[in-house]
Symmetry: C2
Subunit: 367 residues, 2 copies
């Protein structure tokens, strides 16, 4: 393993000093920032997330801000899901595609005002994309990356912590709903959201100078519930069937292939980028689909497997896009992006550095 | 320092195993790949580059391939430099801008055939950008990232090594000129190019399965000249005044601000992205310009400084975008992106974590 640290292309988050103080042990670059991915004890982090509560520096979930008279129009052009129901305080998860119908992001979209929208994005330069579309179509909208950095509070006890901080109104937030508020004068958007299936909230910090302050408020408030640091957890998210854009998708993946078809509205206008291509794909049928995969054998030495070939009768039929050891299942499990010929139950082989590992496809999620 | 390694968002290069064998000590993410940035002895790497010859894994310089009847037309639309003289075997360095006239890349453009062009890019998702433009304008061109990975051979003795491998014809290549060829059956483009001012070549490997083979051929051929591993060198490139796109530029930087004005052709057609904005900027005059900066004081503990405020009379007047200790000069030197009010010779202050360091602006390059 080689080292990584902040550099001119890797900005640090407003919570950076706090994560160092918590003993962050590994980073991954994401949206040109350093994302904590480990605090050195992944089993403890998994336990906190699935049984208790954990707090995550997910400042890397950057916002692409659309502001101006054409903000709402541009938002729809960029999204293959119908946004006509979008209102203030109710966010939506939306697939974004390019003109080929290929997935380029899966943000949460938040409308903050009549003319103000945030795309809370996964890892890809959507600011540049949105600027290109707006300029090419002559839209009157200003695009920027505002000073907004989410801190996630995740786990079954997250609601208790958040209610102790903000009051009981947080319990009434439905999934992806949000509220603009303040905490000790720190401007925030509080949303029920987060990259796990354990439930939780995201606090969108709107003043980058106050990250450590916010981190410590949450840390103090969480003490009765043994809160601790964590990060998007590869084991939990695979067990839960949660897609990783860019991790489980490639340069050819459309939403139908990765279980996002129910977020695609094919009757949207043709000016929505990708919708015409998706109509064609829907009528022709997809070539691949995403399933679960369970591997034979004991816990491997490496914790995390990525993009290994899946073979059937000696022929490549797809990729295991991500795989992890699940202690809960006593097996290596993962996501398979495989030919439509293969169904759950099919026995396949994963080819890993010359070795072949027996495996079986299954439905998602695992839990 | 935390660790980094290959993951689902960080692909490895075809030379990865070779760089591990050479003892690579640090990586930086760049174009979604791991770029070696150190082999543990930066002084030796600097000496090889400036006095001998070194070989670099710069597979991160990805190619964006434009293929089809509208490839040449799209290439011009994407470039604010006149490409009308572009021919096979003669590459050009070109600034790319967005519609605001803001720099989004500074690739080398190579025309390989009448309908086939590569943009050899710096760190930014230009494939997505080019796809957006092509689709919005209805151009008949296929965009892709081909299996092409450059290996750089840099330093005053690079020509001797390359001539020993390929023959004397390499000596006739002028800067950015190139030739498609083969070496032991490995398909290559050989160009006089590279991210240093020490002279050298880039071998564009066109078969990713043969990276270690190519690495070792160059390593063997270079032995008489004590070749060794290296990487784009922050000290050499700052001494030489070489711009780092994304390192010395921000989300507002136009080509005129960073000494690229002579690569901008303002009389290009309006359909060239950014040219209308650049005409406006040129007539109004830029607010900032890029100068060198020399700091007082001894060698700092950290080797590399990025984006510190530059103050004049207690007021922020710009940023020191990158700074390094130059043993040759016995000073910390860097690039300053400062208000046009300030000229070479101006005495300023660099504000670094609460400390203030006296400094003086100067012309570029340092050597």
């Amino acid at each position: 393993m080689a080292e990584i640290g902040p550099n001119t292309r890797l900005k640090v988050s407003p919570f950076y000093k706090s994560t160092l103080a918590e003993g962050v042990a590994g980073f991954s670059p994401y949206n040109r920032m350093l994302m904590p991915v480990s605090y050195g004890d992944l089993a403890a982090e998994y336990a906190r997330l699935t049984k208790g509560v954990s707090q995550w520096d997910v400042a890397v979930e950057r916002q692409v801000q659309l502001k101006g008279p054409d903000a709402v129009r541009l938002a729809q052009i960029l999204s293959v899901r119908d946004l006509s129901g979008l209102t203030e305080n109710k966010g939506k998860y939306v697939p974004m595609c390019d003109h080929r119908g290929t997935l380029i992001n899966d943000p949460v979209v938040l409308q903050l005002d009549d003319d103000l929208i945030w795309y809370s994005i996964a890892d890809k330069d959507i600011l540049m994309w949105a600027r290109c579309v707006a300029a090419e179509r002559g839209l009157n909208v200003e695009l920027s990356e505002p000073d907004v950095s989410p801190l996630a509070v995740q786990g079954p006890k997250a609601e208790l912590v958040m209610a102790s901080v903000f009051g009981d109104w947080v319990k009434d937030l439905k999934y992806f709903w949000f509220k603009q508020t303040e905490l000790m004068g720190i401007p925030l958007v509080v949303a029920r959201s987060g990259y796990s299936k354990q439930g939780g909230f995201e606090l969108y910090l709107m003043d980058g100078t106050r990250g450590d302050e916010l981190w410590n408020i949450v840390k103090e408030a969480g003490k009765p519930w043994d809160i601790g640091p964590g990060s998007p957890n590869p084991v939990e998210r695979i067990e839960s069937g949660l897609l990783s854009f860019g991790g489980d998708t490639d340069d050819q993946t459309n939403p139908f292939e990765v279980r996002l078809g129910h977020y695609v509205d094919l009757d949207l206008d043709d000016d929505v980028i990708g919708i015409a291509a998706l109509r064609r794909i829907a009528s022709e049928g997809v070539r691949r689909h995403q399933l679960g995969i369970v591997l034979e054998g004991p816990e491997p030495k490496e914790g995390h497997w990525v993009w290994y070939d899946i073979l059937s009768d000696g022929r490549k039929v797809g990729d295991m896009t991500n795989g992890v050891w699940s202690s809960r299942m006593g097996r290596t499990i993962g996501f398979a992006l495989v030919s439509r010929e293969l169904s759950p139950g099919a026995e396949v082989v994963v080819a890993k550095d010359g070795e072949e590992v027996a495996a079986k496809l299954c439905e998602l999620p695992f839990y």
